[in-house]
């Protein structure tokens, strides 16, 4: 089974780190989509691309993660996609002010934490 994961983060470094960690898991055949802000991510999702999990930063230029997640959850076609927040922001891990999401990972993160939230999100999505 193959999976498609959308990584939304304005840091190319973090996107590359997350991709590398996921490639080193036992999840077979992962295809990555990338966006450097919420607007680009929504444009990608508007193209009827099937996505299994969205990993999203909060602080991004043009459209931040809060607004992007709100719009995803307001769209019946997209609202079932698990969203995992990956953010350095204080308060993110306590989910203060966040819409309901599948998981929150603070930066800096360990590979084990990323692997754990990805496995959990994929299990929920394909249960």
């Amino acid at each position: 089974m193959s999976y498609r994961i959308l990584i939304v983060d304005d840091s190319a470094t973090t996107r590359a780190m997350v991709k590398r960690i996921i490639r080193m898991t036992d999840i077979p055949e992962v295809q990555f989509l990338e966006a450097d802000n919420g607007r680009v991510a929504l444009d990608l999702l508007a193209g009827n691309v099937a996505v299994d999990v969205i990993l999203a930063d909060l602080n991004m230029p043009e459209m931040d993660g809060f607004e992007m997640i709100r719009r995803i959850q307001a769209n019946p076609r997209l609202s079932r996609i698990p969203v995992v927040v990956i953010s350095a922001s204080p308060g993110a891990e306590s989910r203060e002010g966040l819409p309901e999401v599948s998981g929150v990972v603070g930066k800096p993160f360990s590979p084990e934490t990323i692997r754990g939230v990805i496995h959990k999100a994929l299990e929920v999505q394909h249960a």
């Binding site: 840091s11 490639r23 922001s89 204080p90 891990e93 203060e96 603070g106 800096p108």
Partner: protein
């Protein structure tokens, strides 16, 4: 800058570098530290329970090292090494978030997107580190100056 804030700031930078790239910090060998080679200035502002800005003066060489340590053995066909500037911007972002968590626990502070600019060491270094306004530490032998300006 109050001593406790200095300590928290340096420990936040150490945590970010260690977890991102297994890079450790060391104190400088003497009271006078030369500026880093090929330096840039990264600034991130924050507002909320605490307001101010965090600033780093740091070498692009450290950005390259950070990328090599984290991504150097990525052999996937589509891999493209990010720009060292991007790694330093993310380092500032993570250091700031770590500092605010240490100081304010889970209280929400809004962090802005970091801004990077070239740094003229000959004209700016002395003022940046003058009178203990900034802490200077060594990361893999490369000087890093860091400070927080509150308000």
């Amino acid at each position: 800058m109050p001593e406790l804030l200095n300590l928290e700031l340096v420990e936040s930078l150490a945590t970010a570098l260690e977890m991102m790239a297994f890079i450790s910090l060391a104190p400088p060998e003497g009271p006078v530290v030369s500026p880093p080679d090929d330096p840039v200035h990264v600034r991130i502002e924050f507002r909320g329970a605490r307001s101010g800005r965090l600033e780093l003066v740091i070498s692009r060489d450290l950005g390259r090292l950070l990328l090599e340590n984290t991504l150097g053995c990525d052999a996937s066909e589509t891999f493209v090494m990010p720009n060292p500037n991007d790694a330093l911007v993310e380092l500032a972002n993570i250091t700031c978030g770590t500092l605010l968590k240490r100081l304010e626990g889970g209280a929400r502070c809004e962090m802005q997107v970091p801004v990077l600019r070239p740094f003229d060491a000959a004209a700016e270094w002395s003022a940046f580190v003058a009178s203990g306004a900034a802490d200077v530490v060594l990361a893999e032998g490369m000087p890093v100056a860091i400070r927080v300006v509150e308000g």
